[in-house]
Symmetry: C2
Subunit: 348 residues, 2 copies
C-alpha cells in the first residue's frame, strides 16, 4: 500500500493531458480553443486523451489569464408580494438555460434592499463576473448608471423609463399593448364600460399599462372618465375599489394592472353573488400561478418571459464579444390567456 496514495486521483491538468498525448501544453490548449490550428490526427489524439482522463479546464486559471469569468451576475431581489415577483423564477430558469448554452453561469447575489447599488461593484472589482443582468428598472436605474460609469457590460430587463436617450441594451415587454389586448377582449365579449384598476401614478409600468387601456377605450369610442382607479397592489384594495365601481350598474368589466388586483375583483364578485365571466368580466396581468388556480380561473396577460431571457442572453453575448450592438433595444409583445373570468357562457 503506497503511503501517499490519494483518496482519489488528483484533477487532471493540461500538463497531464499533454504528457499522455505526447504533445505540449499549448497544443492541448489549442485543441480546446483553436482546434483549426491543429493537424487532424493531432487533434484527434489530443481529444481522445481528454475524454479518457476526463479533463475539464480549471476555470480559475483560465479566468485569471483571460480576465473573463463566464459568470453573469444577477441581483436576486427581496421577494416582494404582488408585482411580477412570482413570475420571476420562470424568467430566471430560462436565463440559466440560455446562458448555459454559451458556457456562462448565473451568479446570484444579495444586496441591501435600501441600496440599489449594493453588491455590484464588489463582484466587479473582484472580477468575479463578466456582466450583469439588471431586472429592476421600476425605480430608475441607479445600478445601470453605476455600471455605465465604470464601463461594465450589462443588459436590463426593462426600458430606461427616465432617460429615453440611454443607449444601453435592454429588453422589455410592451405593457401598454397587453392592457390594450385585455381591454379589447372585454369589449369584444360584449362589455361596454371597462374599468381599469391600476397602480399608483408613481409607477411607470403602471402608467404605461393604463395608457393601453385608455387607448383601447378611445378606439372603441367609449369615454373612460371615472373608470380608471389608482390603488396599491393588494387584494383588499382592489376588492374595495371594485365594490365602489360596481355601484354603477353599467360597469361590467375590469382590466387590471396585476393578477393580485384581478383576484381582488373576484373577491368582490364573490361577496356580491355575481358570477365571474357571465356577469362581470375580469382580466389580470402576469399570468401568475394565482391566476391559474383561483376560482373560476382568471383571464390574464402573459409576458413572454422565456423569450425575454433568450433575447437578453443574445444581447449579452453580443456585448461580451465586443461587437457593436446594432439593435440594443428590443420590445416584445405579451399575449392574452383566456380563462373563465371572461367567458359569458357559464358552461364549464
Amino acid at each position: 500500500m503506497s503511503p501517499s496514495r490519494r483518496h482519489s486521483d488528483p484533477q487532471p491538468t493540461l500538463a497531464t493531458v499533454a504528457e499522455r498525448a505526447g504533445v505540449s501544453r499549448q497544443t492541448v490548449s489549442n485543441a480546446l480553443n483553436n482546434p483549426e490550428l491543429l493537424r487532424e490526427d493531432t487533434l484527434a489524439k489530443v481529444r481522445a486523451v481528454i475524454a479518457e482522463v476526463g479533463y475539464t479546464p480549471n476555470r480559475a486559471a483560465r479566468q485569471l489569464r483571460t480576465r473573463s469569468s463566464h459568470m453573469i451576475g444577477l441581483r436576486f431581489e427581496e421577494a416582494q408580494e404582488g408585482t411580477s415577483n412570482a413570475t420571476m423564477d420562470r424568467f430566471v430558469h430560462t436565463l440559466v438555460e440560455a446562458t448555459a448554452r454559451t458556457g456562462h453561469h448565473i451568479v446570484l447575489f444579495a444586496g441591501d434592499p435600501d441600496d440599489p447599488l449594493d453588491g455590484y461593484d464588489e463582484l466587479l472589482r473582484a472580477t468575479a463576473v463578466d456582466a450583469f443582468v439588471i431586472t429592476d428598472t421600476y425605480a430608475g436605474t441607479p445600478a445601470a448608471d453605476l455600471l455605465s460609469r465604470v464601463g461594465a457590460p450589462y443588459v436590463t430587463f426593462g426600458r430606461p423609463w427616465d432617460d429615453p436617450s440611454a443607449r444601453h441594451p435592454w429588453v422589455d415587454v410592451a405593457g401598454a399593448h397587453g392592457a390594450r389586448l385585455a381591454t379589447e377582449h372585454l369589449l369584444e365579449v360584449g362589455h361596454a364600460r371597462v374599468a381599469w384598476l391600476g397602480w399608483e401614478a408613481a409607477s411607470r409600468i403602471g402608467e404605461d399599462r393604463r395608457a393601453g387601456w385608455e387607448a383601447a377605450m378611445a378606439a372603441a369610442g367609449t369615454s373612460s372618465d371615472g373608470l380608471g382607479v389608482r390603488i396599491t397592489d393588494n387584494v383588499d384594495a382592489a376588492r374595495m375599489a371594485a365594490h365602489e365601481l360596481l355601484e354603477d350598474p353599467t360597469v361590467t368589466a375590469f382590466a387590471c394592472a396585476s393578477d393580485t388586483l384581478g383576484i381582488g375583483v373576484l373577491h368582490a364578485l364573490a361577496e356580491r353573488g355575481l358570477r365571474p365571466g357571465a356577469d362581470v368580466g375580469v382580466v389580470g396581468f402576469d399570468d401568475s400561478l394565482g391566476a391559474q388556480v383561483t376560482w373560476p380561473g382568471l383571464t390574464s396577460v402573459r409576458q413572454p418571459l422565456e423569450q425575454v431571457a433568450i433575447e437578453i442572453v443574445d444581447l449579452l453575448h453580443t456585448v461580451l464579444s465586443h461587437k457593436t450592438v446594432t439593435e440594443p433595444a428590443r420590445m416584445l409583445e405579451p399575449t392574452l390567456v383566456v380563462r373563465r373570468s371572461t367567458r359569458r357562457d357559464s358552461a364549464r
Copy 2:
C-alpha cells in the same frame, strides 16, 4: 495628454497596494487574511491604502491558489406546476443572503430534466464551485450519490428517504407534523370527520404528510377509513375528489397535501354553494401565494424555508471548514397559518 492613458485606471492589485504602503505583497495578503500577524500600525497603514485605492482581491487568483471558489452550486430545476416550486424563490432568496454573509455566492446551473446528474460534475471538475445544495430528493438522490462518490461536499434539502443510514448532512421539514397540525386544527374547530387529499403513493413526501393526518385522526379516536384519497397534484383532480367525498354529509373538512389540492376543494365548494370555513373547513400545504390570494383565503401549513436555508448554510460552512459535522441531520417544524377557510364565523 499621455498617449497610453486608459479609459479608467487598471484594477489595483496586491502589488499596487504593497508599493503604495511601502510593504511587501505578503504583508498586504496577511492584512486581509491573517491580520493578527501584523503589528497594529502596519495593519492600519495597509488598511488605509486598501480603502484609498479601492482594492478587492481578484477572485480568480485567490481561487487558483487556494483551490476554493467560494461558490455554491444550485441546480435550478424546471418550474414544475404544483409541488413546492412556487415557494422555491423564498428559499433561494434566503439562501443567497445567508451565503453572502460568509462570502459565498450561489451559482445556478441548468441540467437535462431527464438526467438528474447533468451539470454537477462539469462544475466540479472545472473547480468552479466548492459545494452543492441539492433540493430534489423526491426521486431518490442520484446527485447526492454521485457527489458522495467523488468526495464533493454537499447538503440536501430533504431527508434521504431511501437510505436511512445515509450520513450526509441534510435539512428537512417534518411534513407529517404539518399535516398533524392541520388535522388537529380542523378537529378543534369542531369538524369530526376530516378527509385527506394527498398525492400518489409513490411520493415519499406525500405518504409522510398523510401519516400525520392518520396519526391525528387516530389520536382523536376517529376512524379514517375511506377518508384518505390519493390523486395527482392538480386543481381539477382535487375538485372532483372533493365532490365525491362531499356526497357523504358527515365529511365537513379537508386536509390537503398541497395548496393546489386545497384550492381544488375550494372550487368544489363554490360549485356546491357551500361556504369555506363556515360549512366546510379546508387546509392546504405550503402557504403559497395562491393560498394567500385565493378567495376567501386558504389556511395552510407553512414551511420555515428561511430557517431551512440558514441551517443549510450553517451545515455547508461546517463541512467546508473540514470540521466533523456533529449533527448532520436537522428536522424543522412547520407552522399553521390560519385564514378564513377554517373560520366557523362567517364574519369578515
